[in-house]
């Protein structure tokens, strides 16, 4: 999905020593962050133009290697075949995927086996888990979602050769916000969201007795977590460098990244 950020309306006092165009594309998970950064960047540097598009992590990486774009957003690591040694990785955020249920359900812990059984439709009624005799409503993300990719891989054991599919009756949602909304409103629903979306309207359950917290994820006990990346071809220079610096700045990390994800500096892993 193309989302263009136009120009205009920038303050007169802006610094214009930085100029040029930055093209960004890739992961839809990173898209809102990249877009917000583009707005702030263009407001601060009025001689620049930042164009941000979605398309998914894979498409972004392909375009970066073809030098169509300057920055590839990705919600996954580079795959062995993709890295020829010239791509530079900028980790811009850390994300934990939490499994969430409606607070009415008296369920606080699920084993990995149970999670797989629920999401693949082998178990379809909460009474099998000591809950009410009601159908389990599974809520998942859309196919292009990096969050779904990571969840499928880690929680369901899906691989590109042998993909594992969620139960066909699962509700597909385009965002974390909508999943939280549906799970919060449906007494029998279960889903997954990025860590930043966990609040009182839903309950994050433990996975094999480990709760989804920053400490548990950073120390490797909770494995459904990943970094979000901005990849560049070689070291970033010029406006591309300044743009990434803005994304990594303490202020932006705190105000924007921290709203939905975890600031990179809070995670010491690697």
């Amino acid at each position: 999905m193309l989302l263009s950020v136009g120009c205009g309306g920038r303050p007169e006092t802006a610094d214009d020593s930085i100029r040029g165009e930055v093209k960004v594309a890739g992961s839809t998970t990173v898209l809102p962050i990249a877009q917000e950064a583009a707005v702030e960047f263009m407001e601060a540097n009025k001689r620049t133009e930042v164009e941000v598009q979605g398309g998914g992590s894979s498409a972004g990486i392909t375009q970066l290697k073809e030098e169509v774009i300057d920055i590839a957003n990705s919600s996954r690591e580079l795959q062995p075949g993709e890295n020829d040694g010239t791509i530079v990785d900028h980790k811009i955020a850390f994300d934990i995927i939490a499994i969430i249920v409606n607070p009415d359900l008296k369920i606080t812990n699920l084993s990995r086996k149970q999670v797989k059984a629920i999401f693949t439709g082998k178990m379809t009624n909460w009474k099998e888990f000591g809950g009410p005799d009601r159908e389990i409503v599974v809520v998942i993300r859309d196919q292009a979602s990096g969050t779904r990719e990571v969840f499928d891989k880690i929680a369901l054991g899906s691989t590109s050769d042998k993909p594992v599919w969620c139960v066909p009756s699962a509700i597909e949602s385009a965002s974390n916000g909508v999943i939280r909304e549906i799970v919060g409103a449906t007494p029998t629903a279960i889903g997954y969201v990025s860590y930043g979306y966990v609040n009182k309207t839903i309950r994050a359950v433990e996975l094999d007795g480990v709760s989804p917290t920053i400490e548990n994820a950073a120390e490797g006990r909770y494995t459904m977590a990943r970094f979000l990346h901005m990849f560049t071809q070689g070291e970033a220079e010029g406006p591309t460098r300044s743009y990434i610096d803005l994304v990594l700045s303490d202020e932006f990390q705190e105000e924007v990244v921290g709203q939905e994800y975890i600031e990179v500096k809070k995670v010491k892993r690697q």
Binding site: M1, R134, D142, Q143, S169, I171, E172
Partner: protein, 306 residues
């Protein structure tokens, strides 16, 4: 207005007939404008077909149109499965549910407007129906999402999303079409028909049931078919309440997708053969619409012949 027209006529008298050549050219331009409709239909067919061709070729008719196996692959489109039968069924099921309610409601409201209601009331209902037709589908979808879905969830203990919610939303979309066209048909019936019936001692209900509705049969059928067309083609309102699942729906409260909702949900992310499969779904919609149009043509020809 009349004065201006008169002036123009006198002005024209002196320069008129010298332009036989220009006359023909003008006619060609006007014909060209009228032919835009033909061109548009041809282009739509051409492009939708052209874009669906790769998926038809690669997957074959059976795997594409008659399979329920929908497992797309965004990263590697060729590795996915793109059977659309589930969504064809979803479209038929939601439309059927909608017609079940909107047909009696729409024709009933039309009879009310034409036969039962006092003039002022008839006008209120007619205006109301026109306003209903004007409500944008995203607004009706949002209404469905925040009111219908929770209500269905409460009553049935399901998630609330699904075929039933979609059908109810579609009632709102199809109702104005059915009511307006049915009322027009009833109005066009000769007045003698009703007078004769009443003169023979029939009550109002008998007149409506035994005389008016049977004589309006073809027109009412066309109204219902066009209402059906609205329901089949509706996209946003249905997408917001149907649950966007890929399961083959067997219960009225099952979550599924229709052709239109699958297209609008996935087109943004799809590429290659995945996208082509979505165009193939649009091709099916296109063919369904053509069948409806031809059906209407046949019916109205029959009506004219009768």
């Amino acid at each position: 207005m009349r004065a201006r027209g008169g002036e123009a006529v006198t002005g024209a008298c002196f320069k008129g007939h010298a332009f036989a050549d220009r006359e023909n050219r003008v006619k060609v331009v006007m014909l060209a404008c009228a032919s835009v409709a033909i061109l548009a239909i041809l282009l739509i067919f051409l492009f939708i077909f052209r874009e669906s061709l790769p998926s038809i070729r690669e997957l074959g008719v059976k795997n594409l149109f008659f399979s329920t196996d929908w497992r797309p692959n965004v990263a590697d489109p060729k590795a996915g499965h793109y059977g659309m039968l589930t969504f064809i069924w979803g479209t038929l099921l939601t439309t059927f549910g909608a017609m079940l309610i909107s047909t009696p409601l729409g024709i009933g409201a039309a009879v009310f407007i034409d036969q039962v209601a006092p003039d002022s009331m008839a006008r209120v209902v007619r205006r109301g129906i026109e306003l209903l037709a004007g409500i944008p589908s995203v607004v009706i979808g949002w209404f469905g999402l925040i009111l219908l879905v929770p209500a269905i969830a409460r009553v049935t203990g399901t998630s609330g999303y699904g075929v039933a919610a979609a059908s109810l939303v579609l009632v709102v979309m199809a109702l104005p079409t059915i009511t307006t066209l049915s009322a027009e048909t009833l109005k066009s019936l000769p007045a003698e028909l009703k007078e004769a019936s009443v003169a023979m001692g029939a009550t109002r209900w008998q007149t409506i049931y035994k005389v008016l509705l049977p004589s309006a049969r073809e027109g009412l059928l066309i109204a219902v078919i066009l209402g059906m067309g609205r329901a089949i083609g509706e996209t946003m309102a249905v997408q917001m309440v149907i649950g966007n699942a890929r399961a083959f729906a067997v219960s009225p409260f099952a979550r599924t997708s229709t052709l239109t909702t699958r297209i609008v949900t996935d087109t943004g992310e799809a590429s290659g053969i995945f996208r082509s499969a979505l165009f193939a779904q649009a091709l099916v919609l296109l063919l369904i619409a053509m069948v409806l149009i031809i059906l209407i043509r046949v019916i109205s020809r029959k009506r004219e012949a009768a």
